[in-house]
Amino acid sequence: MTATPTKTTVSRPAPPTPKPAGGARKRRGSKQSLAVWMFLLPAAVLGLYFKFIPMFEGVRLSLFKVQPFLGDVFVGFENYAKVIGDQRFMEALGHTVFLGVTQTLGALLVGFVLALLLEGQARSLWFLRTAIFLPVVTALAVVGEIWRILYFPTADGPLNSILGWLGLGPLQFLNGTDTALWSIAVVGIWSGAPYNMVIILAGLTGVDRSLYESAGVDGATVWQRLRYITLPALRPSLVIVLTLAAIRSLRSFTEVYVLTGGGPAGSTEVWMTRMYSLGFQRNDIGVASAAAVLLLVVTLLLTVGTQYLAKRKADR
């Protein structure tokens, strides 16, 4: 980041490139544009086939009652009405928002605490940061398996044993209807917090040390120092981290699918798992596609809104 301004100032005073005159320029221009599209071709083909055609297919299917062998019937917005009128989809929406809020805020808070604890130059801290980052690198499916073991619901399961030492009763964790959603949230925080820690650590290195020193001379407490120096300095990166995480959590699938599959008794069903059980198990492709389109629209609106806010902040 710091190298960028110097580089641009070096390149700016360069003499304007001499323009080849007449025909030569034209020939080179068309050759140039040929090269441009040649280099873009692989991305264009893959993007078309595996992103945009499926997207348009999804929008189209959402307007049809899809029946194999019998032919699709156009039903307009009936599928959308079904999604919105579906009790289980609305419950899933509630769970999605719950997980989104708890995981995003939890991972941010824990990441912040981790960063404050592990800030520094010492080699032992560097080692600790490396070790703590492991959950981020591990595939979510593997994280899910690890936590299924840790959450083993008998009294001698790993986490329940620890609760036992503290004198707390054994919990059902993933098997209990009222604990399952919280258990998933904890896994999300565990695997997301170290990532935020790295971002916040990077932000902390940019804080002006002399501000801490003068605050110390003025007799500020640690809390005041955090509140008035550290947090304001971190705000720009925190805002972006927060919104990106919120958008990502809308489509979280793997962890819920691996940990509980939506159970027990639908208590952890989220938008994505509900959509998938409709689309792949019950073969209700039209309704599932409508649910996907709704999710896409919400994500799009959130993303555009974030970009707009970020731009407006940057302009100020």
Binding site: V10, A14, Q32, A35, W37, F39, L40, P42, A43, L46, G47, F50, K51, P54, M55, E57, G58, L61, V113, L116, E119, G120, T130, A131, I132, L134, V137, T138, A139, L140, A141, V142, E145, I146, R148, I149, F152, P158, P194, V198, A202, G203, Y212, E213, G216, V222, R225, L226, S237, V241, R251, T254, V258, G279, F280, S289, A292, L296, T299, A310
Partner: protein, 302 residues
């Protein structure tokens, strides 16, 4: 957690300047402050890293069960891995490695090509192409999974089915807006004079990219390499919908097969999890610096 109160009398400390190195003002001298910090560090280490130690130990333990997790295997054995082999885990691992290798190679090539056009050229429709690239990031496999599975079963115009082939995973992960962006952001910073000089020497487009631009982008290659690998290795839904039958699964997806198979014990499942962890661990340890750089630059650029 309450932040330790240490700044009540800052001027009396022996080296005041070091005390302002960190936001909480951790003291570099041994004392109550440092003891507290070490205690907290141990706690944090236990929460985030010990589960991995326990899992690895359980994979090498003869009677591993969720109720007997320990940090060192009580009776060391390789039996879990042998049973895993009989359960076809090497096949799953092979699927995973082929997909990770092929997908990553394709993704990096596609990204470098696209980024070269987007960053070093000016052309009509550039803004639109950029927008489409941005959109690919908003269309992850989860969201478009159902129609994508139909497309994989019957490729439009070509009429071939990719299902059951590793290509069904390799091709879709080949396009990822994130690596195109990271790469083109980096390529933009290469001074134009270098390119102009090479062009005067009559260097063509391919040689320009591979011998002039790319060698200057090594750090960015590291970044998109590690993030691309993690993205491909983390795929769950795509290998699931791309498979014709369980033998096409990747290792991460196959874990759920192992879990539901009552004939194999938890030790085998854990052995599979450890096998699925090792490649990402190795990549992370070797390319950590690139990774941290990628995260931080991604955060500051938005």
């Amino acid at each position: 957690m309450t932040p330790p109160r240490t700044t009540t009398a800052p001027r009396r400390r022996p080296s005041p300047s070091a005390r302002f190195d960190t936001a909480l003002g951790w003291s570099p001298q041994f004392g109550a402050n440092m003891v507290l910090r070490i205690a907290l560090c141990v706690l944090v280490f236990c929460i985030f890293a010990l589960p991995f130690v326990a899992i690895i130990s359980a994979a090498f333990d003869r009677n591993s069960s969720p109720t007997e997790i320990s940090l060192l295997p009580k009776t060391f054995t390789l039996q879990n891995f042998e049973v895993a082999q009989q359960q076809g885990l090497w096949g799953y691992l092979l699927n995973s490695l082929v997909i990770a290798g092929g997908g990553l190679l394709l993704q990096m090539t596609v990204s470098v090509f696209a980024a070269y056009s987007l960053s070093r050229k000016k052309f009509r429709g550039q803004a639109l192409v950029l927008l489409l690239v941005l959109m690919t990031m908003m269309l992850p496999e989860e969201v478009i999974g159902i129609p994508l599975s139909l497309v994989l079963g019957d490729l439009p115009l070509l009429g071939i089915s990719l299902k059951g082939s590793v290509l069904a995973v390799i091709l879709p992960v080949g396009i990822w807006g994130f690596s195109i962006f990271i790469m083109s952001e980096f390529m933009k910073e290469i001074p134009g004079e270098i390119e102009e000089a090479a062009r005067l020497d009559g260097v063509g487009e391919f040689r320009m990219l591979f011998t002039i631009i790319l060698p200057l982008c090594k750090p960015a290659l590291g970044v998109i390499g590690i993030f691309g690998f993690m993205m491909v290795w983390d795929q769950y839904l795509l290998p699931l919908i791309a498979a014709n039958d369980p033998s096409d699964y990747t290792l991460t997806v196959a874990l759920s097969v192992l879990r539901n198979d009552t004939t194999v014990g938890p030790g085998v499942l854990v052995a599979g999890a450890v096998m699925a962890m090792i490649p990402s661990l190795l990549v992370y340890l070797f390319l950590q610096r690139s990774m941290i750089r990628g995260i931080t630059s991604g955060a500051t650029k938005g």
